[in-house]
């Protein structure tokens, strides 16, 4: 591989190494690459890193903490992108064991961002000799970084001839770097695209080679603009090659222990997936109809939770569009295999018009965000947006949510054709949404404004167009600078916190409590909600420390789960993870230990936010659209529900009130509830009333390092 690359591109830096054996899930070193001075170096993985930070997001945060300064901005050379899988990453016996975690300082939140992603890069990086890659500095011209494990060679290479958009660069790299068919299986790339260059919402695409389709496919680390950081560093691609992946490549402490729980879960998937979520046939799009049925599917910028046309984009539709019968796992051995694709899609707009491509997905979030939330119920339009977002390196969630915001502003008269350069951005205008996406990728026209994200758009619309900042604040679905992912939270106070009381911003990967709270009524008190907002974010953080996907935890459920003490936690699967962690690392742990591991990393990340000037109570504020109805039409669409709350909870008589008065009364009540929730959650998490982790909390978790304590002391 390396010989071929040498002949075509100038090598700016080279590093040779002997890949160490992986022992119990770790190689024991991380790779440091500095693009400003073309340094490549190895760093040791310390005992503290393994003990307290575990791997994945934990390693990323630790390395980033030491790489940046208190005032580092996202586009400063010292900002880093760190990618790490985790000790379990690369296991082939247990489904969902191939995730990578990416961290960086974000261009939209200006604080720490983490994003998880499938594909082969993280595990192959480990099998090429590295527990993490840490990229710092900024290249003068576009480069690729090639990590060749079997060749024991790492290079930074000039890349003027390498395409930028992902579907091109992914194919190009495979053709350039694989000398024989088998090489393709163990090569993975990370890339972004032209959209990542020209917006702040760039994503990263992680490839995996699909042996049946004989083509690279891509999973996205979407959130928070890390793709934008990637292109700002002038990286076109990172590429890794490892030797063949085997069942014991992780050299686990007890392979049989892993194989036992893996076989149990494979059988559950085989026996029950068809009657449960049908992940193997439709993947996450199964959620569209369910969210619509429960009034949770975002429609028209989160105004509503359902729409009669949702049936046109639900799981049945996607099951028919996805090619069936292929093992669509994004890592080896994942029998839940939810990474479906639409094959043979012919692109109908933009620079790739007429090309026939594979569209990876769409996932639920893309369908809900770029579809229902924008009033678009046309599957082909959703596919077009999905394809272009991916290849341009644009996060589909941020694109969907910010386009829905733009559309509401258009319909409210804040924007018009003159201000948008001719785009009629009404809800449901798919063609205008697609053109907006092309403009974003080119960094032109109104797309250049929209590509800055909702937080900046609010400022621009107020300053340039005289829009009411308070209204924009109410309907702009972002918190901390990150666009909301795609669930309506108005009727679930716990999930308002599940989005608002997060480290990175409103993304559902910390907690999804809507059913427990709103439907099942299992969290009736503030203390109950706070306990859930302790346990579940910590539980789900743990997946990101180890290189695991969340889906096999609870998108397949054993039949006797109903009879357990805490069915919402899927206790049998929690025990699987205890076995898995111990089986790989040899560390004897309990289920409680897994939560404590996460607590340490989670609190460290909160302190990291503080260090960068965020992470306090004021930063956990949420837009009112996520709490209750903002507009008259919104209130009146669910008047029975809201009137009932005014009557039964507040003792008011809705008959004697105007809709505006009712909105105001409900708002006062619901906003007070959110503040009470914050109090309860901070208390449960061991934080002050301003959201600052107490020193005693840091001590309990063993992360009371002097530099960490020094940060919190400024706020105590």
């Amino acid at each position: 591989m390396s010989e071929k690359t040498q002949t075509t591109r100038r090598v700016l830096a080279e590093y040779t190494y002997e890949p160490p054996p992986v022992e119990r899930g770790y190689t024991g070193r991380t790779l440091y690459v500095n693009l400003s001075n073309n340094t490549i170096a190895a760093k040791p993985v310390t005992d503290v890193m393994k003990e307290k930070f575990i791997g994945g997001r934990g390693f990323g945060l630790w390395l980033l903490w030491h790489g940046v300064k208190d005032d580092t901005q996202w586009n400063d050379p010292e900002n880093e992108i760190v990618i790490s899988s985790g000790p379990i990453g690369g296991v082939t016996q247990y489904p969902g064991s191939g995730k990578s975690l990416v961290v960086a300082i974000s261009p939209t939140t200006h604080s720490v961002m983490d994003s998880n992603v499938g594909g082969h890069f993280g595990p192959l990086l480990k099998f090429a000799g590295w527990d993490a890659i840490e990229i710092q500095g900024k290249a003068e011209e576009d480069v690729i970084v090639v990590i060749d494990g079997p060749g024991g060679r790492i290079t930074i290479e000039e890349a003027p001839d390498v395409p930028v958009d992902t579907h091109l660069v992914g194919h190009w790299l495979i053709e350039q770097l694989a000398e024989k068919e088998e090489d393709r299986y163990f090569i993975s790339s990370v890339s972004a695209g032209t959209g990542a260059e020209n917006t702040l919402i760039g994503c990263l695409n992680f490839s995996f080679y699909d042996r049946r389709r004989k083509a690279p496919r891509f999973k996205q680390a979407g959130r928070g603009g890390i793709g934008t950081v990637f292109r700002d560093k002038h990286i076109k691609a990172l590429v890794v090659r490892s030797g063949p992946v085997r069942g014991d490549s992780n050299h686990p402490a007890d392979l049989q222990r892993i194989a036992r729980v893996g076989a149990k879960l494979h059988k559950e998937i085989h026996d029950y997936d068809d009657e449960q979520n049908r992940m193997r046939k439709r993947g996450t799009p199964y959620l569209v109809q369910i969210m619509n049925d429960y009034d949770l599917l975002p429609v028209h910028n989160f105004k509503y939770g359902s729409h009669p046309d949702a049936v046109k984009i639900n799981g049945d539709v996607w099951e028919a569009r996805f090619t069936q019968g292929l093992p669509d796992g994004c890592w080896y051995g994942c029998t839940l295999s939810c990474s479906h694709a639409v094959d043979g899609y012919t692109v109908r707009t933009g620079p790739y018009k007429g090309q026939t491509v594979i569209v990876d997905g769409p996932e639920y979030e893309t369908i809900a965000g770029c579809g229902a939330n924008c009033g678009i119920f046309d599957p082909d339009a959703i596919l077009e947006i999905n394809f272009y977002c991916d290849t341009y390196g644009i996060d589909t969630i941020s694109f969907g949510t910010l386009t829905a915001f733009v559309m509401e502003c258009y319909e409210a008269g804040i924007l018009d054709k003159e201000k948008t350069g001719g785009l009629e951005l009404h809800f449901g205008n798919a063609e205008a949404a697609i053109e907006l996406l092309h403009q974003m990728a080119r960094g032109e026209g109104f797309g250049k404004i929209a590509g800055q994200g909702i937080r900046r758009m609010k400022q621009i619309f107020a300053e340039r167009f005289g829009a009411d900042p308070a209204f924009l604040q109410d309907i702009g679905m972002e918190a901390k600078g990150l666009e909301y992912s795609e669930y309506v939270t108005k009727e679930s106070l716990a999930q308002q916190g599940g989005y608002g009381l997060t480290n990175k911003g409103p993304q559902h990967d910390e907690a999804w409590l809507i059913f427990m709270d709103m439907v099942s009524n299992l969290l009736p008190t503030f203390e109950d909600k706070a306990e859930a907002l302790h346990y579940f974010p910590m539980w789900r953080t743990w997946f990101g420390l180890c290189g695991l996907c969340k889906l096999p935890w609870n998108d397949i459920v054993p039949p006797d789960n109903a009879y357990t003490d805490e069915p919402a936690k899927i206790p049998d699967h929690v025990q699987n993870y205890v076995e898995l962690f111990s089986g790989v690392t040899g560390r004897k742990v309990t289920a409680d230990d897994l939560i404590t591991m996460s607590e340490a990393v989670y609190n460290f990340q909160r302190v990291f936010n503080l260090r960068l000037g965020f992470g306090r109570r004021e930063h956990d504020a949420v837009p009112y659209r996520s709490v209750g109805p903002v507009t008259v039409e919104e209130y009146e669409s669910r008047a029975e529900r809201y009137d009932k709350q005014l009557q039964e909870t507040l003792g008011l008589d809705p008959e004697k009130m105007t809709t505006e008065e009712k909105i105001a009364a409900l708002r006062q009540y619901r906003e007070e509830q959110y503040q009470k929730l914050i109090d309860a959650v901070y208390k449960r998490r061991g934080w002050t009333s301003d959201g600052v982790p107490k020193v005693e909390t840091l001590k309990r978790l063993g992360i009371d390092f002097p530099e960490v304590v020094a940060v919190v002391k400024k706020y105590l």
Binding site: N277, Q289, Y487, A511, F515, A562, Y563, A568
Partner: protein, 66 residues
């Protein structure tokens, strides 16, 4: 009258089955646990298990999604 999830009161009707109740509430999510007066109802009995008047019914939705 029956009480659902310790919150919602609904009119009882003769012959109301678990499936009928789930339909009435539009509870379409596949990961549901139903109990009547503290006893878990096996999924295969949903179409036939009749809910008695005054019952305390819990329809617990497990978390998925996200």
């Amino acid at each position: 009258m029956i009480r659902v999830n310790n919150r919602d009161e609904v009119e009882w009707e003769e012959g109301l089955t678990v499936s009928g109740l789930l339909e009435r509430f539009r509870y379409t999510f596949p990961h549901i646990i139903v109990s009547i007066n503290g006893e878990v109802v096996p999924r295969e009995e949903y179409p036939t298990r009749v809910i008695p008047n005054g019952a305390d019914v819990r329809v617990i939705h497990l978390i998925a999604g996200g």
